[in-house]
Amino acid sequence: MLATETILFYSFGYMGLLFAIAYYGDKRADAGRSIISNPYIYALSLAVYCTAWTFYGSVGLATRSGPRFLTIYLGPTLMAALGWVVLRKIIRISKVHRITSIADFIGSRYGKSTTMGYVVTIIAVLGVVPYISLQLKAIAVGFLLLKSYPFHSMTAKFADFPMFQDTAFYVALILAVFAILFGTRHLEATERHEGLVAAIAFESIIKLVAFAAVGVFVTYGMYDGFGDIMHRAREIPELRRIFVSPPESGDSADWGIYIFLSMMAILCLPRQFQIAVVENVNEDHLNKAIWLFPLYLLAINIFVVPVAFGGVLHFSYGIVDADTFVLTLPLTRHQTALALFVFLGGMSAATGMVIVETVALSTMISNHLVMPILLRLPFPQFARRTDYSSLLIITRRAAIVLVLLLGYAYFRYIGEFYALVSIGLISFAAVAQFAPAILGGIFWKGGTRAGALCGLLAGFGIWLYTLVLPTLVHAGHLPYSFVADGPYGIGLLKPYQLFGLQGFDSISHAVFWSMLFNVATYVGVSLFGPVRPIEHTQAALFVDVYKYSGAPGESSFRRGTASVFEIKSLLRRFLGKKRTEEGLAQYAEQHQINWKKEMVADSGLVDYAEKMLAGAIGSASAHVMVSSVVKEEPLGIEEVMGILDETRQVIEYSHELEKATAELKAANERLKELDRLKDEFISTVTHELRTPLTSIRSLSEIIHDTPDIDREKLNTFSEIIIKESERLTRLISQVLDFHKFESGRMDWQFTWIDLRDIIDDALAATHQLIRENNIQVSRHLPAQLQTVPGDRDRLIQVMLNLISNAVKFCEPQNGKIEITLNETPDHVRINIKDNGIGISPENQKIIFEQFKQVKDIRRGRPVGTGLGLTISRRIIEFHKGKIWVKSEAGQGAVFSFTVPKGNSL
């Protein structure tokens, strides 16, 4: 109906417009004024989820299964609600670790594994190829329909056309060119594709508007609104049947599994990962996107049912393929302009998907399939290559072409026998296999590489067997008995009724078994299988990403150094000179490093370089490359466990707490002891003060109250009063002295002293005391004595103290004190010997402590403050001498002290 030229003109015009938008978006991004950095563009670009399947296929599914088509959009709506928890975490992890694709994500999580990268990439490519073929089919069918309606029936087989007249083949080639132009224009392989995202967001607007346009046309142009269509549809038995979700057996299980499947798909489709995670500008955009995206899904589905019912009402059942209603309905009413617009809408849905999907897959293929293999090849000329970045781009472009050709092949040999939705669901079931590895990977530290690998392979195997092999049967490549009777006639292995399970449709049957095997194997092998240290590390970094992502350097436990030169040349090989310089300059600025001076790259820089490289060639390859130049200090298992094992951290922490508590306890004990001593001191001192005071006071009162007191008594009394006052004075000055010592405020006046003078002075001062007690004092002093440095008054104080002590403890009637002085090369020693009761060994230890007085039962309380010996010891120690006592009970005591001669000071 429309000339081929007209359709081509508008198609290429539309593509040109897309390209202009992408170009503008890139230019704005380069200028630093991003047009995609807002939640609305982000949400619209997420709508790349709605492909030709949505645009054409939903209507078809609605005519067959009623509301079932909605499950594909209810799942993502539910997942959007979880997006704040799940997607935000994935985005954060990917930003921190510079992750570029789903293969990178899974590979990196499970110990930067190259093998995981291979497996995920291969599953993704095989799984998504049918989905791409679906888009090719939609565009080709739409094109043919527009060109030749109504002469070309939709059921004609495209396989009948020779290849070079086959529209789908040209569509594939043109899309490849566009994907290359959009996705790999830059020589820099690591940039986000701002322009691409802008174009995708624009496509999302076009497909929504186009679908709404045809919806409004059918609902209000051809019929009289929703009510009218429903009312008429009620008259048709086939339509009345799908007014409810068909209550055939198993529908409730199918319904739930479809919702589950689409939930997993929105998370695991490579293109969704590309748009939602890799191209995400700002985590906070999720805030609005998590409701904007479901709103978009709701909007694009409003008119599905009216168009489906309207189409059936118009054409009646089975004449025209319901997948094409959106085009054929306008065409029957000769609305060619609308039909062309709808075709462009369908094309926008298909191209958006194909472009993003192939870009995502090409990144995976080049980073996780081609590069690891090339880097391991033993070609010296390859290893010496100085610039890989152009090679990366070429690999990616080749990968795009390859993926589209695979899509075309699938379409030509298998896909055309299927409705759009069935093909799409096969892809959903394939990518859903990634879900356990991803979700387990971000929430469960126990998930291991072996577990994830086995789980993926198990799920993928079941998928191949239950979904892909049967499609080969339908396409005539395998005998029909394979499906009907099972391989070799084994009924339990029938691909649609594995192990005899019935009551599911083929998709939910496959999803059930593959997910069951996948999850069970993943968990089982993770729990019982082997683990390597790096897996622990990555597991902790992923699961606790919010904890570790404070700063870039913290997000790795790599320890090792390399030369700056090696790191630089490595980066240059993959990123080119410009980006290397830029990246290093940025690092230098952040860490205030001067590259001219810095020769050794520390672990922080090594880690930074690895992440830069990971953006270009994927984390596994980057890890291998960086490891080749880094002298790695192996991360000990204890350290890994120390880092990871939170229990251990807690235990260590509590150990520290216990230690601190013990210290506090000890300090508290000391304080208590001091407090006790202080109390004792005060009570001793007050007691000592009160005793003389009491006698002074009572004697004074007697003198005062007795005017006729005789002279003799008065003399005695006043003598006692004077003595007691002297004692009081002495006591007070001792306490003051002690206080001075304790607080370190004593003034010392050192001079050269002859110790013999000290002894004489002290004896002179105690002359009275000695005489009163009838004590004989003998001195044995040398004729010659070297002077020593010392404080004269203080040393006299010590002597006085020791003499008065000796006097106190001497035998009452026959006291003898012997003072001797002898000289050693370094010291002068003075000994004061008495013939008193002696001091028991345990008391010898404590008498120099403050307030410790020897309590003698026979003599009651000793007189004194208990400070005398303490003060003496302080004084002698200050002179760097020693003071001690030797005694045996009943044999008297010898107090000795030494004062060093000046030469030893």
Partner: protein
Amino acid sequence: MIGYRAKGYRLAALFMLGAVLFNYPILSLANLNRMVWGIPLVYLYLFLVWGLLIFLMVLVTRRKPKISIKKRHYPK
């Protein structure tokens, strides 16, 4: 972080609400051969719940978290 966490819990609760309302057996209560306002009940039910869920998500996400996270620097 309190605001972020509370939001996560609220949205997770919405997820559970939706998961229950969108699935059997609750869905079977609406999966009846009956028209309401000229529209088959099950379609009306699904779209209304869908809209309600989106509305609730708007309400939950519109509240600003009390503490804003400081900007992070990633290597470029």
